[in-house]
Assembly symmetry: C2
Homo-oligomer: 785 residues x 2
């Protein structure tokens, strides 16, 4: 009835162009906002003159930092317990920072009016290179914060430093490497946008916004703007991709709300592409120094990491406070390495707010890239086959549940089986033979291309999260689900998570269909509307299936148990005489006597006499508070061809074996993996947010910030193993970010394997590969000139 | 915190003209429907030519009975297990019946196109007088129904005929009277309307409609049109009065849905006033022959009633099948009369569908009018004071719960106390003295006016209803409620009932506020949207407080109990150590240690460790299935001045003492009573839907169908007694229709008391009063010529 491959229900509207996104929302009398942004990375604001803009005949409101300051709204709190500017008052701190918000009768007038605003700046020296941020003579960026005399944000460490040092002191072999995970951008197809509508009569604020976390946004508006929570409705309509870009709160959102308050009309604000790429939340920007200790035959003994994290000028509003380095906890990856320690130091720089999500958020991607690169560096240094080194060090099935060096408990896995399957699918030995032949031919003739084989084995940690593990705003991470079965037997499920393209309407209908024995077509999902859905923390970190999915299973089982009581009354037996069989309750020993959910639903709404204390109808609510994260994992093998003459690397094959536990809709799982693999190709080979020495942004269009297309992707070869999560009610684990986490290292390992270079930083553009071949790769975070 | 007088929250928007009614809904690309109606009361349709209308450049669809017949939709089921025409195919059966539905780009074009349609009719003799409907030579109206050779709809009886006959045979005194409760109309300020929008891509039908029963409408669309129930969303926005007019399904609704299916665009249809008065559901039209048996000193011994009920050409879609005479069960009123019997015979006539609701529906109003008129007739015949006769026969407090002659069990009451209070408030004895003086003066001079004093004591039966008592569509009458408390301590309540002006947003917020110790301002009510609210049977028959109100109380108490567990965890005590005191859970014996709901709500969403098996958040659902009806009651005293020369009757004073159990918001209760008293003045003195012999409707505008205004109403004098319902969780009973039920008899009794006439039928227009003074009142259901 439920699980299995099934075409996505939502595609009926998406493929016909009938999705309804925020920018499709048009309300009567709606006004339009536009933002004047800073041209400087760091400058003092001497004056802001908006008088000419205010005189524009179509302008209805001009909002400056001073306007907001008068309402106590010039700064907004972040989850890091500091603040971020809404509109600049004292200084601008990155190029593209919001300075003035204009509300006008149409979008063109709003943009035109921006050019009428005069802002006088006194430029200040910017801090662009994170490695210079803590220099004693570095300009202090956050002089707005009390007592802040430098650019230090936090220090965070994990693991046992002394034990790790001891292992390193006695190890046969220590390999070290400096690694950069450059600043990249989630770059969703749809940019951020909002329509804010404060009804002056009812006091109700209705917000249509592209948010992955409607309920947290509701709470943020309540806390920031002082509007009572029950007077706020957040509607996230169809969303054209999130990838973490749509978790946080942006100045344009708050300014639109203020604009609606000031004008009494709905205010729409939609980013253009350049604004999205310049100023909405970035990811990565992690400077890592890795050290790996091992025996001379490749048994890993310890791992030690020092990280410098570039947070930009502000902590992203969704950067959690008690968790500054996020899921970097899993930096020992998929290996049995008990002696491990990491220290992360965060710094402010004159760049847009960073440190937040891009699938996968909160540093798992960086951690996975680090350890998978270090294993290859170690293999390179020892002259060992990287597949063999991995196989020798992978966690063994009997070690689960496994507490890693930082104390997190991996739930389940059979890693060797997964790697073995990937190697078999790839034909690993044959690939190595072919590689050797190709290299020999190249060396003999000086012509042709080189071939590289890269492996990555990753462990994800998703489904945030258990109480006290992920503490955000003092909130727990429990998510609700509500299910009603109508009198005619169709159902509606309400969940707190919000799809940004993951196919929730299909997956959740399948979950309920499976549990109730009805067709997924008979289940409607409601999501993305705080007036309708129960509280929950939103969709990010692959939470939907592990958390909301579990809530959906459990609420369906509650309904099934209520149905059992009704069925017992219908059949005039005791509930314990019934058994659930093939989608209906039937009398044990009398299969002819049974009732389907549809039959039971009609009776539950009818005049049936139910036992005392049993209410009618067929509905239930559930709040699921996960006891642990779930840990999907996988083995990826990438095969590239590299032209040493031009530096051009081409991904020829990509084998991806994912284990995300039980798959509800394998077709959707594969789609998710396809997307993440493309992410990895992009990050490994082309994506980079670069800045010049003055802090000028060099990647504010898709002409400069390159994304992979189908032309850069091979035909993916997917495999699967299934290790159910022992604590999820149907053993599912979540898969939304797995491929993004796992694939970059496989591609980078393959390219470096092809050219025989120990390390070079991403992105491995043709220029970077060519330089690496010449023995002088560059640091890609520095300006490209 | 909760109960008490409080200004209505919804009035903030209503008094500013910011309510949002169906006709305010404008959707992109919306089309407009108009209906061609029959000019004949009874005619065969020979041909329908819509070709010219279809050629109109702005017409997008023309729907005839044949169009619908091709989809199996020409007839719709009624709750009486027969069918009603959607668009006429074979015959038209009343003037104003729907024949063709035109969909055009604007409302003007749609109306214009109606005049291009040619319908050829063969007129048939109509049946207008219900007393002629069963004549052997009467034309058969419903020849569409299999085997129907006459105009008989049903026979229904209640009570013990033999025992009643025996009492009558030996009674000292029997008084008889023929009474008509004429056909009247609910006449809400807002007429019926709909915007139907079937999304061809998603298959979802969204209906904005002025309906008192959104969930039943959803089910009806599912059953009639075959659209899956989870693909239908009914939204009832603000509603400008219902009074029963907005319970049923109308042809314009179904045609709008079909119009949307055919055009792929939203279709709006809004009745004009004339259409609403001509063709939407009527009430009353009850021809009653009453007999009352008594001792010579006025002790009532028995009641015997024969009724002829005029149902019009179709049973209204909301006329329940197993319950054809509805709440006429309570025809013995407020008196201890065990020997009673009634028989009701329903007939079809060539009038618009009737037999349905107008507060109060289902025949309580007729029953109450009957018994209160019969008591006055008996008093007149015996020469006794009608107040004394009532006091002698009222049920005594010790008789509750009281099973009336038909078996229904009245829940609670102290009737003598209530009547005594009304008599005191009126100054009854002084009024009688004044009346005698005025009559003496009139008789002496032949000038001046006469004064009349009318009393009515009524018992309502509301809050449908217990299973097996009210069986509609095989459904029970349970209603759901859902409550969520947000992290910041404000709350949202979802209920299945739907306000049409009764102030639910305020009353329900007060209910929750009272139970949770929070301000009603912090509680938001969600109603009137099937996608959001739990299943329930809707708002009619004063159900909201007795049923949904009870559900709201109980769901709030569930939340309070969940809060107790959370509070116990916060305070590190056992839940049983806590007591609920002044809006918070506090440790017994340690009042300083306590937590409010707001504090508990934040903790429930936080990382607090809860006991195993206790879910987080703070929400609950409840389904309330009432164990019995509730029985509000009241004593009304009307004082009129009548000019015998012109027949003009003026209501000078009106004392109304209502007992509706516990009052949540006394201000809203009084507002409800005010409205119902005005209803009674209208029905008693002016309202009448009249027809000529050809079935032409003579009341299709407010120039002809007269409604009372403030000019016809006195300053109401209200009093209260409080007898809680023993089975409602807070002892409330419901009051929406009480005054409509109780007031007409008081006004009629007063007017007839003034002129000393035993009986004359409503409406007591000046002409009718003048004729009554002359000793020859007419039957007002006949044509007024």
């Amino acid at each position: 009835m439920g699980h299995g491959p099934m075409l996505r229900k939502e595609d009926a509207r998406f493929v016909r162009g009938r999705g309804r996104f925020v920018d499709d929302v048009r309300l009567p009398g709606m006004l339009h906002g536009a933002i004047l942004r800073s041209p400087h990375a760091h400058a003092r604001i001497l004056s802001v003159d908006v008088s000419a803009a205010e005189s524009h005949p179509k302008v209805r409101a001009v909002i400056t930092g001073e306007t907001l300051a008068g309402r106590g709204l010039a700064w907004m709190p972040t989850l890091s317990h500091d603040v971020a500017a809404v509109l600049a008052t004292d200084k601008v701190r990155y190029q593209g920072q919001e300075v003035v918000f204009v509300v006008a009768e149409d979008r063109y007038a709003a943009r035109d009016a921006l050019s009428l605003i005069e802002v006088e700046y006194e430029p200040l020296p910017p801090v662009i290179d994170a490695r210079r941020a803590l220099d004693p003579d570095a300009p202090v960026i956050r002089d707005d914060l009390d007592g802040r005399a430098d650019n230090h944000v936090f220090d965070w460490e994990s693991g046992d430093a002394a034990a790790t040092d001891a292992v390193f002191a006695s190890a046969e072999r220590v390999s070290t490497c400096d690694l950069l995970y450059p600043r990249v951008h989630p770059a969703p197809l749809e940019t951020c946008g909002i329509v804010a509508d404060l009804d002056r009569i009812t006091g109700k604020l209705t917000v249509h916004a592209t948010t992955q976390a409607p309920h947290t946004h509701r709470m943020l508006y309540a806390l920031i703007a002082g509007i009572p929570e029950h007077k706020i409705r957040i509607i996230a309509p169809d969303i054209g991709g999130g990838f973490g870009n749509k978790v946080g709160m942006y100045p344009g959102y708050l300014c639109s709300v203020v604009g609606s308050v000031l004008t009494g009309a709905p205010v729409k604000w939609t980013e253009d592409r350049s604004e999205n790429l310049m100023s909405s939340s970035f990811a990565r920007d992690y400077h890592m120094h890795g050290e790996i200790a091992a025996t001379k035959d490749g048994r890993i003994l310890g791992l030690r990491v020092r990280v410098l994290a570039d947070h930009g000028a502000f902590n992203g509003t969704a950067q959690p406070s008690k968790f500054p380095a996020g899921f970097f906890h899993v930096f020992t990856g998929s290996y049995d390495v008990k002696a491990a320690h990491c220290r992360v130091t965060g710094v402010y720089t004159n760049k847009a707010p960073g440190g937040v999500a891009y699938a996968c958020s909160f540093r798992i991607t960086e951690a996975s890239y680090l350890v998978e690169r270090m294993v290859d560096v170690l293999s390179h240094d020892l002259g060992l086959d990287p597949a063999a080194v991995r196989m020798a060090n992978l966690l063994r099935p009997e070690q689960f549940p496994y507490a890693c060096a930082t104390g997190w408990e991996y739930d389940s896995g059979d890693y060797p089986r997964t790697l073995t399957l990937a190697l078999e699918m790839a034909g690993y030995d044959e690939l190595r033979r072919e590689q050797a032949e190709r290299r020999a031919a190249y060396e003999a003739t000086g012509r042709g291309s080189l071939m590289g084989i890269g492996i990555s084995f990753f462990t994800e940690a998703v489904g945030a999260g258990p109480r006290r593990t992920m503490d955000i705003l003092g909130l727990g991470m429990a998510d609700g689900a509500e299910l009603r079965v109508h009198p005619t037997g169709t159902a509606v499920l309400r969940v707190s998570c919000m799809s940004q393209g993951q196919g929730h309407e299909t997956t959740f209908a399948q979950i309920v269909g499976e549990e109730l024995g009805i067709s997924p077509d008979d289940v409607e999902l409601v999501q993305g509307d705080t007036d309708q859905t129960p509280f929950g923390l939103g969709t990010y970190g692959s939470r939907s299936t592990p958390v909301s999915g579990a809530a959906a299973v459990m609420v369906a089982r509650k309904v099934r148990e209520r149905a059992r009581i009704v069925a017992a009354a219908m059949l005039e037996v005791a509930p314990e005489d019934l058994e659930w069989h093939k989608g209906r309750w039937q009398v044990a020993g009398d299969p002819a006597a049974g009732r389907t959910i549809a039959q039971i639903a009609l009776a539950a709404h009818s005049d049936l006499d139910l036992p005392d204390g049993v209410e009618g109808h067929l509905d239930a609510t559930c709040v699921y508070n996960p006891p642990n994260l779930t840990f999907p994992f996988g083995a990826y093998i990438c095969v590239v061809d590299v032209d040493p003459g031009t530096g051009q690397a081409t991904v020829r094959r990509f084998v991806a074996v994912d284990d995300c536990g039980v798959r509800i809709n394998p077709m959707i799982v594969e789609g998710q993996v396809h997307g993440g693999l493309a992410d990895g190709v992009g990050m490994a080979l082309m994506e980079l947010m670069a800045f010049d020495d003055d802090g000028n942004h060099l990647g504010a269009s898709f002409m400069d910030y390159l994304l992979p297309t189908s032309m850069e992707c091979p035909s993916w070869e997917l495999g699967e193993t299934v290790t159910p999560s022992p604590h999820h009610p149907i053993g599912a684990k979540g898969v939304g970010e797995s491929a993004t986490v796992g694939s970059p290292a496989a591609v980078v390992n393959a390219v470096l394997d092809a050219i025989g270079v120990r390390h070079a930083d991403m992105p491995l553009t043709p220029a970077q590969v060519w330089r690496a071949v010449q023995g002088r790769p560059i640091r890609p975070d520095l300006a490209i000139r």
